[in-house]
């Protein structure tokens, strides 16, 4: 049975450390598969102008392309180079919720994320994505500091 580990990246340097940790972990498990996931923060319940709506599809494609080329593809390439079986995915949505959903849908056995660098009022009010993920995830979560 293959073990699948999901690595949640957010484009910050803690994500790099999460990646290093995942490599280390995967090297100890035989036939371990790695899935690099990047979630673009987005909510279907916001207010937009008609013009923004008309441009939305174009923007979405741009956002996905950017996330792939800047974050996901380089990470997958570095994992593949190191000899791991790796793939990537980019999604829109609430970060914690979506990361968990991707993991469950793909049959991942655990999630590795970096400690988020978000601070200030919003974090105090709503908690960070990492906190939410740790509290609500259906699989074990490892937070790399």
């Amino acid at each position: 049975m293959t073990v699948k580990i999901v690595i949640g990246l957010d484009g910050t340097e803690t994500g790099e450390r999460a990646l290093i940790f995942a490599k280390d972990l995967a090297s100890r498990i035989e036939g371990c598969e790695l899935l690099v996931a990047y979630v673009i923060e987005w909510s279907p319940f916001t207010f937009q102008t008609a013009e923004e709506n008309a441009q939305r599809h174009k923007r979405r494609e741009q956002e996905i392309a950017l996330a792939n080329s800047r974050i996901v593809e380089p990470a997958v390439a570095s994992l593949t180079q190191a000899g791991f079986k790796a793939s990537g995915v980019v999604r829109h949505g609430d970060v914690a919720e979506t990361l968990n959903k991707i993991t469950v849908a793909q049959g991942g056995s655990q999630i590795i994320v970096g400690r988020t660098s978000a601070n200030g009022i919003s974090k105090r009010l709503f908690g960070s994505s990492t906190q939410n993920l740790v509290m609500h995830a259906d699989v074990p979560v490892t937070v790399v500091g």
Partner: protein, 517 residues
């Protein structure tokens, strides 16, 4: 908002510092604008509001009511059968997680609503109740319920026949479904009708979507800071709108888009508070509404007068059958165009049945309309055109006085709400007008700039002209859109029925199912 309020403050100060002579000159400038405007648009207004031979019933009102009724029957009361489904769609129950990041049903609904919820709900209702009496409310609610089916029809078509460009952007609306739909059915004249619609849509954007808004926003502000010339308000508004639609200063539009829903909730909340405080009068108010609906209670034109006002204002407020919402909804990327139709049928409900009714109830309960104690009938003003009010208010100032009678400081909140509603409606309509403009004159930076500039000039004219001619022209232009749109919908509605039958069957069989979120 910050910039706006600063400019407002500056404008108000200038106005108050102006010498009486300057004010007089400015007033006469307003008067000139008004006269020229009334003279040049009169024929158009007269044609649209022409009465049916031998009656005083405008044919356009009958046109709208008949259409909404036909759509309601043709689609088997779709507004009630699929009401629950519409709510589920808005909640995202049927949204594919793979499509996350695209425009959601909720966003399309909110965008379309911010274009319709506005002065129609505040000032328009006051005009209807002020002329047609409380009974107009009954007809307004009925028109709102029937209008849901019309909205459903046009928005489904809007998504089905929109244009998708290689760069991923979309353009949609009646002009596209008329030309494409007629072609599909092998009918002639699609292109001509589509162009005609686009012409009326441009006029509607300049009228109801622009001048009426500027006019009533000015009325509201001058009611608070004191009388000053309308062109000052117009220029300030024009500058702000220009920076948004031409300068691309998204931040102003973004702030408004976020504040407008809050204002909407605040408005309904305030109305509810006033109604709760006067709960003992709600029964009486509904009594007035029902009695007035069938007898008129002495208003000009009797119960027909109430009916005409109710239907007119409902159509003006929720725009069902007008075709504007189809432009706003066509941005949604859904595999099932009909789902957008279901979502859109909630608009007349929220806009007319809920918000307009709230306004009407507050006006009736606040007893701003003067009743002759001897007969129980409403007293008419000197001209005999509208019901006499306590302070001689009409339009938005009547609503303001009614809310002020319940919550003394609310007129200030209302003033802010009116300015913001007016602003967001202008932004929405500038987009509808622009889409029609580019349909006729082609897409391109210069073409767009020409329209946007014309749009801003009309803001100044709208703020400077007096209410009568502006409201007439606004109504006429918007109803002219409905003439073309509804005529075409009669031919195209069988395409929608096919979609509806197929979707309903797949929903029943379980082929279309909820996604677990």
């Amino acid at each position: 908002m910050n910039i706006t309020s600063k400019i407002w403050l500056a404008a108000a100060t200038t106005a108050m510092a102006a010498t009486p002579l300057a004010a007089q000159e400015a007033m006469s400038l307003d008067q000139k604008v008004n006269d020229i405007f009334a003279a040049s648009t009169g024929w158009f207004v007269n044609f649209i509001f022409m009465s049916l031979p031998g009656t005083n019933f405008p044919w356009i009102v009958l046109w709208l009511v008949v259409a909404a009724t036909i759509f309601t029957i043709y689609f088997g009361f779709v507004q009630f059968r699929f009401f629950k489904h519409a709510i589920q769609l808005v909640k995202g129950d049927y949204s594919d997680p793979d499509d996350a990041g695209e425009v959601s049903h909720f966003q399309a609904l909110a965008t379309a609503l911010s274009g319709t919820v506005g002065l129609g709900n505040i000032a328009g209702v006051a005009v209807a109740v002020g002329i047609g009496g409380p009974g107009a409310t009954f007809w307004m609610i009925l028109a709102g319920l029937l209008g849901m089916a019309a909205k459903f029809t046009e928005c489904t078509l809007g998504v089905k026949y929109r244009n998708e460009y290689p760069d991923g952007t979309v353009s949609g609306g009646p002009m596209y479904y008329i030309s494409k739909g007629f072609k599909e059915l092998g009918l002639p004249g699609g292109k001509i009708l589509a162009t005609l619609f686009a012409v009326f849509c441009i006029l509607g954007a300049l009228g109801g979507g622009n001048m009426f808004q500027a006019n009533q926003a000015h009325a509201q502000i001058s009611g608070i800071v004191g009388d000053y010339p309308g062109w000052i308000t117009g220029i300030v508004f024009a500058v702000v709108v220009f920076t948004v639609i031409v300068g691309g200063i998204k931040s102003i539009a973004n702030v408004t888009e976020k504040i407008v829903p809050i204002m909407g909730i605040l408005y309904v909340g305030a109305a509810l508070i006033i109604l709760l405080v006067n709960y003992d009068m709600i029964g009486w108010a509904f009594g007035q509404i029902f009695a007035g609906a069938f007898t008129g209670l002495g208003v000009a034109g009797g119960f027909v007068g109430a009916l005409i006002q109710g239907f007119k204002r409902a159509a003006f407020s929720n725009e069902a059958g007008v075709g504007s919402a189809a432009i706003a909804h066509s941005a949604v990327r859904t595999k099932e165009p009909i789902t957008e139709g279901f979502v859109s049928l909630l608009e007349p409900l929220i806009d007319t049945v809920v918000i307009c009714t709230m306004t009407a109830l507050v006006i009736v309960i606040s007893q701003q309309l003067i009743v002759d104690p001897a007969t129980g009938h409403y007293m008419l003003n000197e001209a005999g055109t509208a019901i006499a009010t306590v302070d001689g208010n009409s339009g938005v100032s009547l609503t303001s006085a009614a809310f002020g009678a319940g919550i003394s400081w609310f007129p200030y909140v209302l003033a802010v709400a009116v300015v913001l509603f007016a602003f967001s409606t202008m932004i929405s309509w500038s987009y509808y007008g622009l889409k029609s403009w580019t349909y006729i004159f082609g897409e391109g930076k210069t073409s767009e700039l020409v329209f946007k500039s014309i749009f801003c000039v009309f803001i100044v004219i709208g703020a400077a002209a007096s209410l009568g001619p502006v409201i007439d022209f606004s109504d006429a232009a918007i109803f002219a859109m409905a003439v073309v749109n509804i005529f075409c919908l009669y031919f195209l509605m069988k395409l929608v029925r096919k979609e509806l039958a197929s979707y309903a069957a797949r929903l029943k069989s379980g082929e279309i199912k909820k996604f677990t979120h």
